[in-house]
Amino acid sequence: MSEALDDEADAGPGYDPAGLRLRGRARLGGVAVALATVLPYEVVDGQPQFLWHLAGELGPAGLLAYLAPALAGLGIVAASFVVRRSATLALVVIGALAAAGVLIHLGADASAWDLVALPDAVGRSPLIPLLCLALTAAGSSLTFAERTRRAGQAVLIAAVVLAVGFYTWPGRGEAPIQAAVRLLGQVGDVPDWRFQLGFIIFAIILLWPALISLIGLVHLKIPAPDDQPLVGIVARYGLAALLGMLVFRGIPGAAQGWGTFHAIGAIVCLTGLVSLTAGALVVAIGTLAAPPGADAEADPRPAARRAGVFVLAAVVLVSGAQWVLARPPSKGVDWTLKAATPAGDALFSDTLMAWNRARLRWDRQARSASGAEALLAVKAAGRTLVDAAQAFDPSLAPAFERLTRESRDLGLAGRRWHRLVADVNEAIRAAGQPYYLDPTVLTLRGDGEARRHFRMRAYRVTRVRRFDVEGDAFATLHVDRIDGGTGASPLLGFSRDLQPFAIVLLPEIQSFQEELADGAAADPPTCLAGSGSDPNDEAEEIAADVCGKFLAKAVAELGAGLPAAAAAVVDRHELQHQIDGPVVPMAPLVAERLAHRGEEVRERVNRELSAYLAQLTADDAPPHLGAVQLARLAIGSRGRRIYPITGLLALEALTGHPTLLDSGPVGDGLAQALSEISADSPDALRARARAAWARQYGADLPAIVAQDVVSP
């Protein structure tokens, strides 16, 4: 690339302080940016967790995103030695950082579909505020020279515009400016001046990019006295100084070690990023956005433009490749189901689970102790399993052999576990056997590491329902659990983004519909039978009465069709999860009502809200049955957990009656919402749900066409 970019290298640069500075910063800043990849992404019990701990868990797009800072940083360092023109180097720097940003963004989205999301330290770094700082630093510097002053002023304005956008846009939660105002508003509530000072410092750090951007506007009126104005220096290093003070303050009181190292590394990294970006912008804008000075030997702009085209092409190419890698998994399944047999049940329940338990014991023992006996046990159990699979259906044996052999690895990553189990599932599906294995990975943090426990559950597939969703295939499996696991699942079904189908748990649905039938038969009817909840107040009692009445009506109308209808509601719910995937637009209602809750709560409620609203639109089930489920979640709750919050917000989204405030559930709102719903006909309620979904997610629910049901 350097030869192509430097086709006029003979012209050589003249004395160019900005260019010289950029070259120096490219070397130091490049290394600093590359640090983001090699720094531990988190510290568990004082032990750092590095990239190599996670590498196996990330898909190609996620891994590329994780490596992006290192690739960009080292590329910049290399370019600083190879590329001779400052403008070209600046464009390479900007291009490398932009490409890294795109890689990270797409990789973070892609890894959300995967088992393990990209660590927040990489996937959710605050690039926009850092860009504000870099623009301010660059803009203030550019105002020094007459030739670049106007461009510099434009850059300063751009920094402010970007800052305003960043601070006022709530994104997927609370807008940063709201958070800062809230923080400052609480200063008077804390008892000690040291806490007050702490709150103020945190608010200053939060608002720092905005403050610096605003201060940078000074140079709209007063040009910078030199090409290294104070505002630029503060923009580049001020945040690092502030954060450095906090780290320094924390050292005496904190257990030193990787935590401190990690914090210092992060400061170095962000400082390098800001400084590098600012330097590159100064050179690039100085070259491209303004005619050369009278003393210039030649106009460097044509060469810079050509370089820009090359860089842009490279960024597009890299981004395109990442876009391809980041495609979500395909959905839907073709499955010809044979009838279940006792031999199959025994293989997938007793034999397989015995191996899985042996593997789990070995995994635990081998990490904490010697584990030789456990290793022999898991080998023996593996042999038994493969032999049993061979006897049951020879076409399954190779997948089981691979599963047992390759999972005998203490470094087994979750992705590999899922792949191995997926291979078995694929062999099962290809053989038409009616079984499904659901792999799970539990991550437990402690003892200085994040330990993963690899488990699976075994299900007998009763039927496969296939759907066409606006041209895309989707599916749900109706299953019975056969692995002898203890305790009923609290869920009626589940959906994994990685899997091509959702799971509907028939035994749990059976229990659910029995509870509904009991509630409908009660006098007066109640929809709380078996839920373990009691109304919090009189208003909620009214809500429960209303709910009981429309439950009784729905059950009476359904008669023997109740189990099928209950399954259809769950089917539609889980199908919506499959359609949504992990990245769902943030519902305004969720963003507003849960602004102060944790991000994870917000995200999970947002996903569940989509599915709960969608389940009311199922054509093959009365929507009031789905509304009963919302009422069971909402009535009697404290509004603190995911599902009750979702139930409350779903009812509010449907009717507009407030059901959840900061103080907790609103009984009156709940009663009014259920009363309003009860008056709806089934079609009216479906339409109401569709409208609510559209309001919250900014689009219409996709049209779903049930295709066929595959049964043994």
Binding site: A369, E373, L375, L376
Partner: protein, 633 residues
Amino acid sequence: MKDTDIAGMGEEPEYRPRSKAPLAIALLVVLLGGGGWFAWKAMTTTDPFRVLVAIDFEGQWFEGSKPAARLVDDLNSQLEGLGFDVVRGGDPAVLAVLEDNAGDLLAAARKLKASYLIGGRVAVERVQHEVADGGYTEVRANAGIELQHVDDATPAKMAIQSWSGARDPERALMLLADGVFARKIGAAVVPALVDHPTLAPKLRGDGADKKAMDAKTTAKLRKAEAYVQARGQALSTAAKAYAAFRLRRLEDEKGPRPVSYHGTTAEEDGLIGTGPDGFLVKTADEELYVNPESSQMRRLEAMEGLVWKRPDDQGTVVRPLWTGYNIYSYPGVTADGGVAALVEDLFGWAKTVTLIGRDGKFQRLRVDPKHRYSNLTPSPTGKAVAFYDRECRRCEDTLVVLDAAGKPRFQADREGGRFEGYAWLDDDRLVVMHTPATRLGGEPPVDDEEGEEEEDGGAEAAAAGDAPPTRMFDGVDQTIWLLDIRNSTVVPQSLYVVDEGQSLAWVRASRDGGKVAFSGRNQDGPAIAVLDVEARVMTFIPTPGPTEAPVFSPDGASVAFNVWPRGQGRDAEIGLAPAAGGEVTVLTDNPHDDRYPHFSHDGQRIFFESRGDDPNFPRKRNISFIASVAVAP
């Protein structure tokens, strides 16, 4: 020079920068060389604290032996607890290396970065007991454990024994691999590791050796070193306590004859008899063990045994006759030591009647899960054995005589009364002392439909060839009976009826069968009684206190016994009396318990058990070692 300079003036000097390539190449070579050297060192250097355990126990664990795997896990756990870095067997990468280097474990150790290899082999002896349903498997392990540094030419060797048992043979092996065996191996191996010439100087030395390892590294093994020191100290203290106990015994002895002790004083031996080789004891040894966790001293039970020991200072083992889980009650042995008889307790599943020859070959005459056998007494030449047989815990004792092949020769119920002892006069005649039910305050058993029973004269009637009496021992008082078991119908003959005011216990016959000695008392007080079988005359020899366990000298001229002399506390001493009657000599005088005397084969000394409280485990364990005292002054 100047000309040249002048000539050169005005020309632009050519500037040729010195090429940096050679320097760069040299630097690269140095870097690559250094990196390669470090890489090579990193790949080949072993960790000074890393240990590979690979003991062949029914095969190696990496070959699939489960007991070996369990043993490895247990040992690894012990070693890790003490700070060693072990090669963990659960790692499949380790398994792969071991499978690839199965024939050369030292090479495997090197590849796994281990500096030490704990290897060797466990020889397993399986003893199948046909008891219970499906039998019971006893396993005995003789481990030859080897410890070797990867650079050592030869390993250090350690021998360790252990045992276990279970109905399922595989479970027996797994139980063996658990716990005690591994602890014994650990207790032997850890000191050997810490004291190994490659490690000890680094841990304990100073100067270069100490500096060779940084403090953090050596600190890892501080616990191991502390354990080894604590263990050494504890064992040394225990040994000193036993030695002191022995000295104290000697000092405490105030008797008229010098007493010799034949043991370490840590034994819990029961004296069975004597023979040309020395004395026969039943052993119940316990091995001292120091727990690495608590540094507390514990006892690990060894198998029990029947052992001939030499009467030297230490009581050296001459010949083990038998070892097993448990010996139930005291075994018996013929006067010449040729045949022993014992009751084996087969792990609680059954009891046996076992005869053991001089060569150690044994024969189980009876094996039964319910019957309880006791007081096994072989006949003088070992052709028969007499014993009590109780069918259940609350059942009556039956006196049974079997021949050496296990064929029943005689059997008699106690008939509601009580057998007080018996002794062989020869291979066919037994003297039996029986106390009838009426003397015990009970009613004699009803033998026939009418409830009638003969009051007396039964013996005479039988002798006259009439129908045998319904009760064999039909005396009204404690009676000494003579049983001649050669006849198909055994009719007891009354040798002596114990008078009012007399009581007898313990029955021991002289070697020639002419006399029988008893502990007892008569109207004058405690006495040793000697019965002349032929003359049916009982001689009471007054003793200075109550007695027990009389035994004849080989020539039958003297009787030794343990006696509690009045006024000398509650500890028994060894007494000696002429069998024909005369003055009793108390041969020992000490504040300890001396009991169960046996004359030496030549009759010159009397061996006995000297008992006491274990000085290292007071009030928790009794010790019993063998002592002897000269008969003649």
